[in-house]
């Protein structure tokens, strides 16, 4: 995998490219307000619907909370990833990026960085919603933050790679979840178990899950950085 995937540019240009792209994406997200006015309400809606489906008074909801939390995060993430690359497909912006001279690794890392910020905001709001509506107690805040943080980096890293892959494809709205959700199965499992431990619902240790989530994030960040060049050039 030599020259086809080598990222051009020194580390410094890659990072400054990443900062440029991330700043643009975040500014765009702030201006368009789609995240705040659509993705976030959607996520909150699902939180409420789960409560209707699983009568909160029968303790089922309490037991299922960590899993539900991550299901909502995953589905909202698919929307966020789709949007992050959807805006690029509009009016040929993706072609613009291909022509721009920005390093592919920089574009990838910038996209992932912006996604990460958006998803962390989503995580936080959802966590507050869960605490309020499901009456959840947090017994291990440090572990909780670590689990949510590493899992979200993993989601953003894998989402960035598959978002770039599907950006120009026909049927990307359906293809993206089909590709992304099975890939994120370990994040769902690890995130759910880790949060269960952090909420005192599971008796096992939680930090090994953080380790596994961290490795997931590391592996996909690395591969995404390497693969974005062929993706941008040929896909």
């Amino acid at each position: 995998m030599a020259e086809a995937v080598t990222a051009p540019g020194t580390l410094r240009t890659v990072l400054s490219d990443a900062r440029l792209v991330a700043a643009k994406d975040l500014r765009l997200e702030l201006r368009s307000r789609v995240g705040i006015s659509q993705v976030l309400p959607f996520a909150l809606l699902v939180v409420l619907l789960f409560a209707f489906a699983l009568d909160p008074d029968r303790r089922v909801l309490g037991a299922a909370t960590p899993g539900l939390y991550w299901m909502v995060v995953l589905f909202s993430s698919v929307l966020a990833v789709g949007r992050s690359f959807g805006v690029e497909a509009e009016d040929g912006v993706l072609d613009g990026l291909r022509l721009s001279g920005l390093s592919p690794a920089g574009i990838y890392l910038g996209k992932v960085g912006a996604l990460l910020v958006e998803l962390l905001v989503l995580d936080l709001v959802l966590a507050l919603a869960v605490v309020v509506f499901y009456g959840t107690d947090i017994s291990g805040p440090v572990l909780l933050a670590a689990v949510v943080g590493t899992a979200t980096v993993g989601i953003a890293a894998a989402g960035g790679a598959y978002g770039g892959l599907t950006a120009r494809m026909r049927g990307r709205d359906t293809l993206l979840p089909l590709l992304l959700l099975p890939l994120l199965a370990p994040v769902l499992i690890g995130g759910t178990r880790g949060v269960e431990v952090a909420l005192g619902r599971d008796a096992g240790p939680g930090w090994p899950w953080v380790g596994l989530l961290g490795i997931f994030a590391l592996v996909y960040l690395t591969l995404g950085t390497l693969m974005f060049r062929p993706l941008l050039e040929d896909a």
Partner: protein, 184 residues
């Protein structure tokens, strides 16, 4: 109609970053100026990346990560810590006492034993198929408020029940395992 006057060729393309907007210089940036970083000697980045991935995956495969799911107390350890455990959830390992199993309306009641400590258990839900007398199991749940009874909602069979003669070994292994986790 304000056709800008044509500018002459510049020798130094960088000089045109100057603030003379009316005469923005169109002299092309040279390849050197724009793609200074087009590198064929960057193969090491790919190699390093592949290395990172391989090492990380090998770490996962060869148990570099400690298990997240085998942490439990043996019955005697749990009994000794009844007051500190209070009603928090934990996992408890022991053998099902022969003849103690009775089916209830919402699950099963039995006594679990390890070394000389015994605890009566009320389990809610269906026990797994392999469940039965003398089987080593790991329960998940919490002591009831009085600390005399264990309320379980999950039974995990520790290993294959068909090798009765090996049970002692397995239990010993589990014992060491639990100690290791608890201390380290």
């Amino acid at each position: 109609m304000s056709d800008a006057p044509l500018t002459g060729p510049h020798d130094d393309p960088e000089s045109s970053d100057a603030e003379t907007p009316e005469h923005f210089d169109l002299t092309p940036r040279t390849a050197a100026a724009t793609s200074s970083s087009k590198g064929s000697g960057k193969k090491w980045i790919a190699v390093a990346g592949v290395g990172v991935v391989v090492v990380a995956l090998a770490f996962v495969l060869f148990n570099g990560l400690q298990s997240a799911s085998t942490f439990f107390y043996n019955v005697d350890e749990a009994v000794a810590q009844t007051s500190t455990l209070d009603t928090t959830r934990f996992r408890m390992q022991g053998n099902v006492v022969a003849g103690s199993v009775t089916t209830t309306s919402d699950g099963v009641d039995f006594v679990i034993k390890y070394k000389d400590a015994q605890v009566p258990v009320h389990h809610v839900g269906d026990p797994p198929e392999m469940f039965g007398p003398k089987i080593p199991v790991v329960l998940e749940g919490a002591f009831a408020a009085n600390g005399k009874k264990f309320e379980s909602d999950e039974i995990m069979v520790r290993h294959d029940s068909t090798y009765d003669e090996k049970n002692e070994d397995r239990v010993r292994e589990a014992d060491q395992d639990a100690k290791q986790r608890a201390t380290g």
